[in-house]
Amino acid sequence: MADADTLDLIQTLPLDSWHRARGGRMVPFAGYHMPVQYEGIMAEHGWTRESAGLFDVSHMGQLVFRGQGMDAALERLLPGDLIGLKDGRLRYSLLLNEAGGIVDDLMATRRGDHFYLVVNGATKHGDIAAFEAAGLQPEHLAGQALLALQGPRAVEALEPLAPGVAGLTFMQGGAFTIAGADAWISRSGYTGEDGFEISIPASAAETVAEALLSSELVKPIGLGARDSLRLEAGLPLYGHDLDQRTTPVMADVTFAISKRRRAEGGFAGAERILLELENGPVQKRVGFTLEGRQPVREGARILDGEGNEVGRVTSGGFAPSLGRPIGMGYVATTLAAPGTPLTLEQRGKLFPATVAPTPFVPHRYHRKGAA
């Protein structure tokens, strides 16, 4: 249990009492009290895959960057094509250090005359410092809450409250009104399902959450299911699957490095990253499946056929939608091909595992051109 001194440092989010009133079991996460579960992780996970789950992700950092030529200025740190990013479009990107290590992963949106970035909660203050050190002046929207509505029926639940959102495609956002509040809503998320992320003033968070929950399609979902959903979707979690020691090539998120940037370079860590793109990294992030039912967790050693350590598990758990344990971790690149047998070691016990393609559960995004 955390002692009183620690508890004093943990902050509350706008929906704190709302979560507690709905039976949310609160835990400290990223410096905030957050709900890890309501009725149970398995039920919440299943509900999100079948209907629509409401997540409070107000711990995440929402940053605005204003100024002439901000796209080019951000490109000095991020490897994505921001100059070519159209208005109202999102791009997954990475904040890199000079050695090519990942300082954070994020979503960047061009919103008219400025850029809007959503960064991880645990890293937001460090990110702000890193941007400032690079001469940028992000405005931290500390007064904005962020909700995510995720699942195949999210659009059905949200369209009546925010007319027009059904017209968005995956990785597109726009300004809407929801329950009387001004909102920025994008078709994006962290579950592999269709869904939306909704940025609203903190003062409106409870009203909007209530309006969403009044739909029979929607239930509140905690951090526990958020983690199992993203793991099944093969999406890396910063601080676990990504950190300053991993590069985008090792982490297998090279889709975040656009074609033009590969040709031109000019972003933090470009020298190392472009070399790794050309020659391949020493280690690579892979997904794996396990026999049996016992999960293998973060920190377990990954061994080759001769018992040599070739990497570590960075995320591992039971996949509710698959009824079996899965995970991800780093292995020597020679062992990264799907189908490669691995041995995992956890607390002295050995587990046979197999490198598996990700996502483990297919993505069901609402892509442009899809029906």
Partner: protein, 123 residues
Amino acid sequence: MSLYFTKEHEWIRVEGDTATVGISEHAQHALGDIVFAEAPEPGRQLNKGDEAAVVESVKAASDVYTPVSGEVIEANQAIADEPALINTDPEGEGWFFKLRLSDPSELDGLMDEARYREWSSKL
């Protein structure tokens, strides 16, 4: 028959020299959805405080310690086949293992049911 509890939220039901061990309602609630359980092999000699079994929820792994010493005489196959049984009936069908007690005096320091329920309700 006597029922005892530990501060680690195990329960022990004693009939003659046989003790049945499981985890309490409070413990299953705290763990959440249980996806894996492994009880000790029959024949294994356990000393009080040994790690005897493993229980894993979606989120985390926990050890089950034996509150008393003895030889394992039976492991509950039902929890291996259906771990969720520990959630639905932790103090009944969801038992973990049975021991032949080697030192019944070890029971003396444990809580009875009334004391445990009162203590755990305040956690």
